[in-house]
């Protein structure tokens, strides 16, 4: 499968396997076509999860990961891409509706924007919250004190 797409897309795509799990490392420019192809042609009809990892020391700070599963093939695959801070990605909601909340969570926790998302706003944290907690530079004890004081009427949540 990787070979086939490599021929089609050139060097923007790379296969990787670790502990028996397959991962496709794909260049940002190939989105969302690659996801659409995986869904339509390779039958990855179920988007299990979308998540991200923050590497603050890297130039392209974020890894965004799609975990996919195919019911007909009984197979899992991960798709991974690197993006810089402030860069956005096309939304996968038109491909898998389940991406809606998953992308909202990635936005909430990392501040990564998805273009074309029907309703991109925070999901777990309150709307007015400042900061994206799963970034590595967000300290574990950090919180939006201003929000807490205005909305909860207490000095601090800790």
């Amino acid at each position: 499968m990787v070979e086939k797409y490599k021929r089609q897309y050139g060097s923007g795509i790379e296969g990787q396997s670790y502990l028996g799990q397959n991962c496709l490392i794909v260049d940002r420019s190939l989105f969302p076509d690659i996801l659409q192809l995986l869904c339509d042609e390779e039958q990855f009809d179920y988007c299990v999860d979308i998540t991200a990892v923050h590497y603050p020391k890297r130039e392209k700070q974020f890894d965004v990961i799609w975990i996919l599963y195919s019911f007909p093939r009984n197979e899992r695959i991960r798709v991974k891409t690197q993006i810089a801070d402030g860069e956005s990605l096309p939304s996968a909601v038109p491909i898998w509706p389940t991406a809606n909340w998953l992308e909202r969570e990635v936005y909430d926790m990392f501040g990564i924007k998805f273009d074309g998302h029907p309703d991109l706003k925070r999901i777990l944290l309150p709307d007015g919250w400042k900061g994206h907690p799963l970034r590595k530079d967000y300290n574990i004890l950090q919180q939006d004190n201003e929000w807490v004081q205005i909305n909860l009427g207490i000095e601090s949540g800790q």
């Binding site: 009809d45 999860d49 899992r76 038109p94 389940t98 777990l124």
Partner: protein, 383 residues
């Protein structure tokens, strides 16, 4: 509110208005509402009694579990996972321990796997019992609640005797189990196996052919198998829509491959089918427990795991069939004693997203039934 438009890819239409002159009404349900199973807030857009659209507001129980994980060692994070889906803590622990074991390339010994299967399946029954009791209570049947809680106690007693805790059990460790079974464990489990089937009959007698139950659950909250897959819905909800998929069979973990059991499916994808699927699942869990307790081998319960857990650099995704659906852990290791990133793929969170699809065009009272039938735990939705 901008989600009265149907989500893409789904066979959905916004229901037509029923009452000529009535205005649309926005009604707030929760977060402090007994039928929302915790602190879930649903904003309903109504035309009379008819639901035109919903929006879920979640996050009231957000504790930042994934952030905590990055600041704890692998071993220290283990008890935290119990606090997500707190009615099925054993399953959460199993998923996490197995994911780290995969990263370490360690396999739990056979005896540990048998103990794990017994406790996980007992926990599945306990979780389904709690679901049944509260779901029936929401719909208006009070008796099942008392019956299920009475019988669930027997399972919790086994947990308590095994590891000292009833709910947040922390039963497993990375590499196997911490505790050997107590004297009389097998007898207790076998007693439960004899005790419980008549109790399921009792629940079914109360509900399965009860006319009120049928009226409130048949054709309520229908979702097709295709929509389930598009929305990522897993677990009993997916199976009730006719998709025969269970990770225990599709990609077996622990030693589920050695056990003989069936995957129940429904046909209509309505609330009644989901009820039937879970009832059959409880009986199937008993079958698995019976095979496990009869075949439990002797031997060590802990694999050779280093004192300080330092998995090699890499990443892993491992998922198990929790009582609510696919529970996955995506762990990134940077070679240190603390995980670089732990992502939990919570079944309740993803399943809750289907609420809107399921209640469009239904009545307000059906929203309560559908929230119950989705079997969500807000601790897991919000993490």
């Amino acid at each position: 509110m901008n989600d009265t438009k149907a989500p893409a890819n789904l066979d959905l239409e916004t229901p037509e208005k029923t009452y000529l002159d009535s205005n649309e009404l926005i009604l707030n349900m929760g977060p402090q509402h007994p039928a929302t199973h915790g602190v879930l807030r649903v904003i309903l857009k109504l035309d009379g009694e008819k639901v035109l659209g919903t929006e879920c507001v979640i996050g009231y129980l957000h504790r930042g579990v994934e952030k905590i994980a990055e600041n704890r060692t692998y071993t220290m994070f283990n008890p935290y996972v119990d606090r997500m889906d707190y009615v099925a803590a054993v399953s959460n622990g199993l998923g996490y321990c197995q994911a780290v074991e995969k990263l370490l390339s360690v396999e739990a010994p056979p005896r540990a796997n048998y103990i794990r299967v017994i406790l996980t399946e007992l926990n599945r029954i306990a979780s389904h019992q709690l679901w049944l009791g509260t779901h029936a209570l929401d719909i208006g049947a009070m008796t099942p609640l008392f019956y299920t809680f009475r019988d669930r106690e027997e399972i919790l007693k086994i947990f308590e005797k095994y590891c000292g805790a009833r709910l947040t059990t922390h039963a497993f460790r990375i590499g196997g189990c911490q505790y050997e079974t107590y004297a009389g464990f097998e007898k207790d489990v076998k007693n439960f196996l004899a005790f419980f089937p008549p109790k399921i009959d009792e629940y079914e007698e109360l509900l399965t052919t009860n006319r009120i139950w049928l009226e409130r659950t048949k054709k309520v909250g229908v979702i097709s198998g295709k929509d389930c897959i598009a929305l990522g819905v897993t677990g009993p909800v997916l199976r009730a829509s006719g998709v025969k998929w269970d990770i225990r069979k599709a990609q077996p973990y622990a030693n589920y491959a050695n056990f003989d059991f069936e995957i129940p499916t429904g046909e209509n994808g309505d609330t009644y089918d989901r009820y039937m699927v879970r009832m059959i699942e409880m009986r199937q869990s008993l079958r698995i427990i019976e095979q496990a307790v009869n075949g439990i081998p002797e031997g060590p319960i802990m694999a050779k795991v280093p004192k300080v857990i330092k998995p090699p650099v890499g990443e892993i995704y491992h998922s198990i069939e929790a009582p609510k659906g696919e529970l996955g852990y995506f762990i990134v290791s940077d070679g240190s004693t603390q995980p670089y990133r732990v992502r939990v793929r919570p079944p309740s969170f993803v399943n809750l997203q289907a609420l809107d699809t399921m209640v469009r065009g239904m009545l307000v009272a059906d929203v309560v039934a559908v929230i119950g039938t989705l079997d969500i735990v807000l601790g897991e939705v919000d993490r």
